[in-house]
């Protein structure tokens, strides 16, 4: 079973819940798909045993074959190619903007002169290892790189279908999040009981309905803010599966890179209960 932990708003406690759930269950595989700022390893402290550099294909133009017809530019949905047909200082030229390229391959498929081949551009790496019985995989996107979905897919390719897989998703509701959560059997949305938490929870719930992924809510920092998250969930019949009280001690542990369950072992039972409730509401008990 694949459980993803996501949220509209950043900083609500995705990593806190994903990490502590994983530690409370023990025999799981953890995938940190927040490749722009992976941080689960700080809490899980896995022994990393493998690293693989990840590349996306980008076009390389053989200008000895190119006729500057402009077909590649025309088919590129991401404006990653400009073709200057004979008006440039040295005759024609083709300019490729690799950071805009999504590696779809349309340019090389449609080039009538077969003048385009694809070369690899490194966007980051996937590292993996173990902690006790837990499998661990995360992606690290190169600094300055904007193309995270291909790297997230590479992290997810390592999912072990024989185990319970916990995915720590990036915040938001855009392409990286969709890439991280799609294919999950269940998604837990972490929110905080504030107007900001609610606003982004509503957006995230809409995204998951669109993706047809069953989901429920965990409320972190319970006790602050107002009751509108509860009202919304009640109105929409979204189950709230867990509440973590607002606690300076938990925040302090987080800031030191210590998982809450190692400081408060009694929390482990609550996280195992959370897992049971997830199995019940997702119908996979």
């Amino acid at each position: 079973m694949i459980i993803s932990v996501a949220s509209g708003k950043g900083g609500t406690g995705k990593t806190t819940i994903a990490v502590n759930l994983a530690l409370s269950l023990g025999d799981v595989q953890f995938l940190d798909c927040d490749v722009e700022e992976p941080n689960a390893h700080i809490f899980l402290k896995p022994r990393l045993t493998d690293e693989r550099r990840i590349f996306v294909p980008v076009p390389e133009i053989d200008e000895s074959k190119c006729t500057y017809c402009g077909k590649c530019r025309e088919v590129c949905a991401f404006n990653a190619i400009a073709v200057l047909g004979g008006t440039g200082p040295g005759g024609g030229s083709v300019l490729v903007f690799p950071h805009l390229c999504h590696g779809c391959g349309a340019c090389s498929i449609f080039c009538p002169e077969k003048a385009i081949k694809e070369i690899g551009r490194e966007i980051g790496m996937v590292e993996s290892g173990i902690r006790d019985g837990m499998g661990f995989v995360h992606g690290r996107l190169n600094v300055g790189e904007a193309m995270s979905p291909p790297l997230i897919r590479k992290v997810k390719e390592r999912a072990d279908s024989a185990r319970t897989v916990i995915i720590d998703a990036p915040p938001g509701i855009s392409c990286p999040v969709i890439t991280a959560v799609e294919g999950s059997d269940f998604c837990l949305l972490v929110t905080e009981p504030t107007p900001f938490g609610l606003n982004d929870l509503v957006l995230a719930a809409g995204m998951l309905r669109e993706l047809k992924i069953p989901f429920a809510v965990a409320v972190n920092r319970d006790g602050i803010g107002d009751g509108k998250v509860d009202d919304y969930c009640a109105g929409e019949k979204i189950p709230i599966l867990m509440r973590i009280p607002f606690s300076k001690e938990i925040a302090g542990a987080y800031s030191r890179g210590e998982p809450a369950v190692s400081l408060f072992p009694e929390l482990a039972g609550q996280f195992r209960d959370l897992f049971s409730r997830i199995r019940t509401v997702s119908g996979s008990s």
């Binding site: 530019r73 991401f78 404006n79 990653a80 190619i81 400009a82 073709v83 200057l84 008006t87 440039g88 200082p89 030229s93 300019l95 903007f97 805009l100």
Partner: protein, 125 residues
Amino acid sequence: MKICVTSEGKSLDSPVDSRFGRCSNFIFFDTDTEGFEAQENSGFQFQGGAGIQAGQLAVSKGVTAVLTGNVGPNAYRVLASAGISVFTGVSGTVKEAIEGYRNGKYKAAEAPSVALKSGTQVKNE
């Protein structure tokens, strides 16, 4: 010869648009005939590559100079590669910009004037 001025509107009295790739309109002005053509910028809301498309358009129109407020690195690369002179820091109306260009008021940019994605920020004027 033809020059391209980024414009908020479609007439010569419109203010110069301070952005290149994400301007509202392009005015293509022919200095020989004094005629012009206004074209809406279809790349205004592109998620990425607006400057590249705008540069490509300027190239296909055969302009020799671009007058605008700012130009980013991608658009600059397209324009410079095509041998088009880029004049940044241009303001006022389109008509004033063309006048200024003819009087040698502006100096051609030798580098992009702003960073990637600058045109996507909300204008605060």
